[in-house]
């Protein structure tokens, strides 16, 4: 499936704004991303496996509140840097 990468994370993806990753859940896709782009996961997911406060992950147009959300092969994922001021 296609994962849309925000500008803040494109230093990990060789500046690509869209990358492909596979997985049956958000957790699996994020882990797949980290295998392809080491270090990316920890910048958006905490050591307690929660999505960081100023990061949002959308599956199609629905916000995923945690990593357990199930995915279909044709889903599109958007990783978004939420407004955080300053």
């Amino acid at each position: 499936m296609i994962v849309h990468i925000p500008s803040a994370l494109r230093s990990y993806t060789n500046q690509k704004s869209e990358v492909a990753a596979e997985g049956g859940t958000v957790a699996e896709v994020v882990s797949a991303l980290d295998r392809s782009y080491p270090g990316l996961r920890f910048r958006i997911i905490t050591e307690q496996d929660t999505i960081r406060p100023h990061i949002r992950i959308f599956v199609n147009e629905e916000q995923a509140r945690d990593l357990s959300v199930a995915l279909r092969p044709d889903d599109q994922i958007h990783i978004i840097c939420a407004l955080s001021g300053g």
């Binding site: 910048r43 307690q48 100023h54």
Partner: protein, 387 residues
């Protein structure tokens, strides 16, 4: 925090000095020549990152570690092994242990403090975080692990409090110090939780807060009430510590076993509140502080808008104001705990970065000051790297 370029850490240095500057919006290097009269500012590195600390490894004088995060992304550490020409990210940055199912685990918000290990332990580094945690790397900062038992210890967790306790942007573990005579003799401090010492390489820790005062109305016997801002160990006498605390300036001679409030000897109208504490590289009686306004709602600016360093040359018995060159009035900035440092030249150079983004230096141990740079973002840290 001086990193001597000689094999003998007590010998005066003569080489060029570079200032490694961490700011709220990136890192900068201000390179000076051997005379420390000519300085050149680098382009910003990691522009937009919140950089709390940038430190040169004095053991190889090539490796630099940078503690960074952004407004959105999680905390990390960047490493350079070629003096900042190229950078790589740590493979596993400092992170707390995963909590058991059903329990709330802690999350590192930012890495606040970096300390290179003992000269006999190349590649070893320590890191302090917010929320308060202690971490160690054995491979030059590539991978990090929780260090010692304190991050998960119930007693320490009680002292550490929560992210809502202590310092406004989160309580910080800082001032990780290593006895130059013994790599197993360690200290660290917590902005909510006092000063702690280990003589067995972190297997056990002892709290050393005797003599320290706490905010009025609180109990000094409650460790979490103790708020050290910056603790330093004298390079020329490792049995002497100095401390700038939330409640005064202190000195401890280990043979006495308690902190003495040497800030009582500061002028009353200035007080003895501040963040940084800087020690002379070769004279254990000489130390500098940079007072700030700690009255009422804690403005955290120079008292009266008139910035000045203060120096003692007799272990805190008397203090001398050093404000020549600084603005005479209406300068409402201060200096954070990692943002003032010294080099190890014969005539000691002092360097500080302000909350208003200025870098100031004195080639004469503080007797006069010159502004080296303006218009940087808020400065969090300044380290003098000597080559």
């Amino acid at each position: 925090m001086t990193r001597s370029a000689t094999n003998d850490p007590l010998r005066a240095t003569t080489g060029p000095v570079a200032l490694l500057i961490g700011t709220r919006k990136g890192a900068f290097v201000l390179r000076g020549d051997r005379t420390r009269r000519t300085w050149k500012m680098s382009a910003p590195m990691f522009l937009g990152h919140i950089v709390h600390h940038v430190v040169l490894d004095p053991r190889d004088r090539r490796t630099i570690l940078m503690a960074a995060s952004t407004g959105h992304l999680g905390p990390t550490i960047f490493r350079s092994t070629d003096l900042g020409k190229t950078w790589k990210e740590a493979k596993t940055p400092p992170a707390f242990s995963k909590a058991p199912e059903g329990q709330n685990g802690r999350v590192v918000n930012h890495v606040f403090w970096l300390t290179p290990g003992h000269p006999s332990e190349p590649g070893l580094w320590y890191a302090g975080t917010s929320p308060q945690g202690l971490f160690r790397s054995s491979d030059g900062g590539v991978t990090w692990e929780p260090f010692s038992y304190i991050n998960e210890d119930p007693q320490y967790r009680e002292w550490m409090g929560t992210v809502q306790d202590g310092t406004p942007d989160g309580p910080k573990l800082h001032s990780i110090l290593i006895d130059p005579r013994d790599p197993a003799h360690l200290y660290f401090a917590m902005s909510g939780g006092g000063v702690h010492e280990s003589v067995d390489g972190g297997r056990t820790w002892t709290t050393i807060v005797q003599g320290l005062e706490v905010v009025e109305g609180f109990d000094a016997a409650t460790i979490t009430c103790h708020d050290p801002h910056c603790v330093q160990l004298c390079p020329s006498n490792p049995d002497r510590l100095y401390q700038q605390n939330h409640c005064g300036i202190y000195r401890m001679d280990r043979s006495e076993g308690r902190w003495i409030r040497i800030g009582r000897n500061m002028p009353k109208k200035v007080g003895d509140i501040g963040f940084p504490m800087v020690l002379h590289p070769r004279d254990a009686d000489t130390a500098w502080v940079f007072p700030m306004d700690g009255s009422t709602v804690w403005p955290r600016v120079s008292p009266g808008g008139k910035p000045a360093a203060y120096v003692t040359r007799n272990g805190g018995k008397t203090w001398t104001r050093q404000d020549k060159g600084f603005p005479r009035a209406n300068a409402w900035w201060t200096v954070k705990r990692q943002a003032m440092t010294a080099d190890a030249h014969e005539q000691v150079g002092l360097y500080l970065g302000t909350t208003s983004g200025e870098v100031w230096a004195s080639r004469t141990g503080g007797t006069s000051w010159t502004c080296l740079a303006r218009h940087l973002p808020e400065i969090y840290s300044v380290e003098a790297a000597e080559f």
